[in-house]
Amino acid sequence: MRYGRAFRVVGRSRPLVPALTGLGLGLAVLGPGLAPGFVLSYDMVFVPDPSFTPMTFGLTGTVPRHVPSDVFVTALASVVPADAAQKLVLLAVFVMACASAASLVPSRRLLPRLAAGVCYTWNPFVAERLLLGQWALLLGYAALPWVLAAATGVNEPGGSRRLVRALVPAAIGGFAALTVSAIAALTAALVTGRTRAGLRVVAVVAVLSLPWLVPGLLRPAGMPEDGGAVEVFAARADTPFGTLGSLLSLGGVWNSETVPVGYGNPLSATFWLLLVLAALAAHATGLRRGAEAWSASRGIAAAGVAGFAVAAFGAVAAPVLEGMVDLWPGFAVLRDGQQYVAPLAVVVAVGLGTAADRAAGARLPLVPTGAVLAPLLLLPTLAWGAAGHLRAVDYPADWARARQIIEDDPAPGDVLVLPWASYRSYPWNHDRRVLDPLPRYLRRRVIVNDAVTVQRAGEAVTVRPEDPRAVRLGRIIASGAPDAAALRLEGVRYVVFDAEISASHIQRATTLLRSADLVVYRIDGTSPAHEARVSVAPVVTVWVTVGAVVLWSILTAGISLSLPLLGSIRSITPRHPRRRAE
C-alpha cells in the first residue's frame, strides 16, 4: 500500500511547528552569516546585483552546473537585495528539511516528528555540504523526503503532479541536486509501483532536467571527461570507522577541510553511529511489522540502500567507475559519492522518529526528548556559522569600482581573471576558500581557469579545465608573462588580478585601477573573439516548457497558488492514531 492510501491528509497547520523548528535551526547554524553581506565558502558564490547574462543560462562554453540555480538567485535578487536573497535561500533549506522529514514520521505525536526533522536538518551531511558551499545540492536534499513520499505514490491520481511539485527545489538546485533526487525517487518508485511508476519518475525528472541538460548537450565542446578525478572526489573516512562507516554516519565528504570542527572524534562519532544504527534498526523493524505504509517505507528504505551503494561506489571500486567515465563521461556525475547518502539520511531521520514514537508509546518520555536533542549535542560545532566558519563579508569597494569601469566601457571584449586558478582565499573573506566570484560579479564574459586542483597525499591533483576559452588562454599564460598582444588576439579586453596584487603585470596594457584588493588592466584594440555558443532558441523553448509543466503541477484542484510547497505537500499521519500529539 502506498503513502497516499495508507495515510490520510491532516490539517495544513501540521508542518508549522517542524517548519518553525527548522527556521530556528537555520538561524542557529547561520549565526554570524546572517549579518549584512555575503557568505562566501567554496562553491557558495553570491554577488551583489547579479545580472542575467548568457552564462547564467549556460549559453557560453562553460559546463552548465550552475543552471538553473543562478537563474533562480538572479531572479530572487531582483526582488530583494542579493545578500538577503542568499539568507532566504539558506534558511529555506533548513525550514524545508525539518518540515519534510517530520512529515514522513507516521505519528501524531509532535516530539517524534521533531526528532526526525532535527536529525535530518542537523547532521554531518548538512554540515559538510554547507561548509563546501553546496547550497543548491542542499536545496534538493531539503525536499528529498517529500520527493520520496511522492515517488512512492506516483501511480495514484495526481501523483505525477505531486512529484513535480516535490522536485521543484531539486530542479532549482540543478545538476547534482536533481541527480541525487532522481536516483532516490526512481528506486523508491520501482520498489513500490513497479515499471509504470519508474517511467513516470523518469519522465518528470527528464522534463525538470531540461534547463541544464539541453545547454549541456548542445555545448559545442561536448561533454567534459576526466576519469582521474574519481579518486579525488570519492568519499573518504572522517570518523574512526573507515569510509563505509563514515558514509553510514552520513559524513565522508571528499574534502577534509569541510568537516565540522570536532566531528569524527572517537567518543562523539561512536555515539552518533550508535544513534544511526538504532534509527536504521527502528526503520527496519517497522518494515517487518507489516504496517499499512509497509510498501512506501520499503521504497524509502530501498532508496537509502541504493544511495549508500552509489555513495560508496567510487571509494570501493574506483577503477570500475573510472572505466565507466571513460566509456561515457556522463557517469562522472557519480564521482562525488558522498552526496548520494542523502536518501539514507531520510531513512535515519524517519527511523529515529519512529523509535522515539515507540518509546513515547512505551511511556519512556525522556527518549523522544533525547532523540530531538541528540543530533544537536553530538554535532554542536554546526552552530554559529559552523563554529564561526560561515561569516558574512562585504565585497571590497574596489570591486564595485572595477565593475563600474568595465561596464561603462562600450568597447567589446572579454575579461581575463588572474592568477590563473579557480579558487581564492581572499583576506577580506577571512582567507576562506571560495570559487572566484568575478564571472558572476561582472556582466561581460569572464574567463577564469576552471581547472580544479585538490591536494591529496602531499601532491596536487588537477582536474582538467572544461571551458575551451580557458584551455586556449591557459597555453598563453603558461608560456610566461602574458603579453597584451597575445591576449588581444584572444578577444581579451580587460585583465583583472584579484590576488597576488604586488606581482601583477601585463606588458603593454593600461592600468585603470590598482588597489590592495584588485588590479584592472585594459587592452586597447581588442576585437570580439569568435566563441561557439549554445543556440538561444532551444534554451528558450526549454524554459517555457518547464515553466508550463511546473505551473500545471501547481494548478491542481485544492491547491492554491498562495500555498506553495509547504502547503501542497501532505503531512502524513496514521489512519488509526493511537493518541493525540503530545
Binding site: N255, G370, A387, P419, T453, R456
Partner: protein, 44 residues
C-alpha cells in the same frame, strides 16, 4: 527503578555532550581553519 536509571543516563549524556560541545565551539571560534595553498579547491 528502570526509569530513574534511564533518566540518570540521559542526564549524564546530555550534560557531557553539552560540555564537550561548548568547549569545542569556543575553541573552534578562536582559529581559522583555512591553510595555504590558497588556490586549491580543498584537500583530501
Amino acid at each position: 527503578m528502570m526509569r530513574i536509571a534511564i533518566a540518570a543516563l540521559a542526564g549524564i549524556l546530555l550534560a557531557g555532550g553539552a560540555s564537550i560541545g561548548a568547549v569545542q565551539l569556543a575553541s573552534a571560534s578562536q582559529k581559522d581553519p583555512v591553510v595555504q595553498p590558497m588556490y586549491n579547491y580543498g584537500s583530501r
